[in-house]
Amino acid sequence: MLSIKNLKAGIAGKEILKGINLEVKAGEVHAIMGPNGSGKSTLSNVLAGREDYDVSDGQVLFNKKNLLEMPPEDRAREGLFLAFQYPVEIPGVSNINFLKTALSEIRQYKGLPPLDTKEFLKLVKEKQALVEMQGSLANRSVNEGFSGGEKKRNEIFQMAMLEPTLAVLDETDSGLDIDALRIVANGVNMLRAKNRAFVVITHYQRLLDYIVPDFVHVLYNGRIVKSGTKELAMELEEKGYEWIKELAPAV
């Protein structure tokens, strides 16, 4: 589904991703861990199409299409979703309105007619229940005045609404209380399916108790320096990152 080969990218003349290789197949859940500043958010932003980053080398195929050539909206329409580490507040734009437009543009891209208001609202209700989000949040401006946890929950709500085939969750668990963590994980697990994949970026092994990954990767200094199964996450929890750093090629 997603195939990243030797991806190098940077910002403001500074190289941050130094040759990423990653294969994600339909149905799989991959976890990416790694110390602060190692390039995890950079990877998700490059995948989502943030134009501030320069890709200097490598290739990314998403369902066999060249992802890097597409504008951000087409990536979303092709089924890619990024839950942002820091969701932006957009005063004056209502959550519901924006999702309605997003959904109808995605459907239009796929040659589907827009949902009528009744169908749409039914979907909203259903997905709100899924992430146990208060109705009032959906009617407010996008993330405006939301608490940290509410913002994260809103990301998962949007994901549930848009039903992507590949979702990248960038530290969606950070700042969540125990209940919210369970709810967010629940939301993800309900969406797990044969034709869908997840890349879950996290600092905490705890999340992976709820969302059990098929693979765990460690990103360090712009490279994936170790890959393994869920046991790797436990090992990291126990030992920290020092021993990983030794695995990285000398600079």
Binding site: A48, G49, E73, I90, G92, V93, A102, E105, Y109
Partner: protein, 441 residues
């Protein structure tokens, strides 16, 4: 009917013109003396040049470089009822007044079921018919020495609208004034309006201005005086939409008395060259004044909003929010003056101007001017100019919105708080649609 063609150029040509023409213009002896006094005031000030602080960003000089004819009669062009309907606001049908170059069209207007005592009439006949009201209010608020365009209009206005709402009277349905500007030669069009709202009365006025079959450029110099008496409530909405080829100087002069409310919105969506002067004198206690403005400009359009809130008495509140979205090579000006006079204690006066520049060639000049002579007041002003928020734009696109619809959504969100104060739902919907249309381009 033929228009009187009087070729005029800048400066002293007006003196000559006045001598020849003023006796043919409507009004009894007292109106004539107002005209005489006004032309003298105009000649003293002249058409503003670069040296005039008030007009340095909006130079009207160039508008008067060529020959103009003064529009003193109804244009011969026929406007059918169907044509005039294109300027309707759907949902507002009861009280519709059509003015063609300032001339009241009986045929195209429909004013139904007005409450007893309410007068809606053209101003030239009102000079005679409602002389007592005219004597008391006409030209009493717009000061000819304060602005040359007030003076020019006061000297040579040919027609306009008169509205009178008597004491304790509520006009339930909004009144829509449709100003249609039409001409086939360069003209100076000077409508003059007077709205008198008596004690404890209420009215909602929507005033739109549109071009119709304009084959040439015109200058519109409009002056509207509004007297807002004790306990009365006035909503006044100005919509400047299809104004291609119209250069307009649009002065609104408001006078507020005790416990009154005056709320106004000025929305300029397709102005060509626009100078709005909105002057409000608050001359009594416990008044509220809300001024909101929105403009969206493109190409070479020029939109200038000058506001003045003059707090002369204590315990009042005023609030201003002006927003602009500029693209192309368009230019914008916001100049907001707030005076708080010495005895005007306990005044709350706020002002904010926010603008988005969508192109490198667009420019905006904002200037707040606070002159505060009382010590116990709360006043603040703020202005900001920026681009669209890139993070927000990316966020929306990352959810599948096209760049265009993401931009439109953000711009609408930006603009909306300047129009959310509109309290006539059908008008709000109408303006929403017009904004949508503007933002699509």
């Amino acid at each position: 009917m033929n228009a009187t063609v009087e070729k005029i150029k800048t400066g002293d040509k007006f003196a000559e013109l006045f001598d020849r023409l003023h006796t043919q213009l409507p009004g009894n002896a007292s109106i004539q003396s107002i005209r005489k006094n006004a032309i003298a005031a105009f000649l003293k000030q002249g058409i503003p040049t670069r040296k005039n602080e008030e007009y340095k960003y909006s130079l009207p000089e160039k508008l008067f470089k060529t020959n103009y004819s003064l529009a003193t009669k109804l244009p011969s062009l026929q406007i059918t009822a169907d044509d005039s309907k294109t300027f309707d606001i759907s949902g507002i049908t009861q009280n519709k007044i059509v003015l063609i170059n300032g001339f009241y069209s009986q045929q195209l207007s429909s004013v139904n079921n007005l409450t007893k005592g309410v007068i809606v009439s053209d101003i030239s006949t009102s000079f005679e018919k409602h002389a007592a009201h005219i004597e008391k209010h006409f030209a009493k608020y717009a000061n000819v020495d304060a602005d040359p365009f007030i003076a020019l209009n006061s000297a040579l206005n040919a027609n306009g609208l008169f509205i009178f709402v008597p004491e304790n009277t509520v006009v339930e349905q909004p009144i829509h004034i449709i100003n249609i500007i039409t001409a086939n030669e360069l003209s100076l069009i000077q409508p003059r309006n007077l709205f008198i709202i008596e004690k404890n009365a209420e009215i909602k006025i929507i005033e739109s201005l549109d071009a119709y079959k304009l084959s040439t450029n015109v200058v519109v110099n409009m002056v509207t005086e509004i007297s807002v008496a004790e306990q009365s409530k006035v909503q006044y909405y100005k919509l400047q939409n299809d104004c291609e080829k119209i250069a307009q100087i649009n002065t609104t002069q408001v006078y507020q008395l005790e416990n009154s409310h005056f709320d106004t919105n000025t929305v300029t969506l397709n102005g060509d060259w626009v100078r709005n002067n909105l002057n409000i004198v608050v001359d009594a206690e416990n008044c509220e004044t809300h001024l909101n403005g929105l403009f969206i400009s493109k190409n070479n359009q020029h939109i200038d909003n000058h506001t003045l809130v003059d707090h002369q008495k204590p315990n009042c509140q005023s609030n201003q929010l002006y927003k602009g979205v500029l693209s192309g090579k368009s230019t914008g000006v916001f100049n907001g003056k707030i005076y708080v006079r010495r005895d005007a204690q306990k005044i709350n006066a706020y002002q904010s101007s926010k603008n988005i520049l969508l192109s490198d060639d667009a420019t905006i000049n904002t200037k707040p001017e606070l002159e505060i002579y009382a010590d116990d007041v709360k006043c603040s002003h703020g202005s900001s100019t920026g681009q669209l928020n890139e993070d927000a734009l990316f966020y929306l696109r990352a959810r599948g919105l096209s760049t265009d619809s993401a931009k439109r959504m953000l711009l609408y969100a930006f603009a909306s708080d300047a129009i959310n104060t509109i309290r006539i739902d059908v008008l709000k919907e109408h303006i929403d649609k017009l904004i949508e249309k503007q933002l699509i381009q």
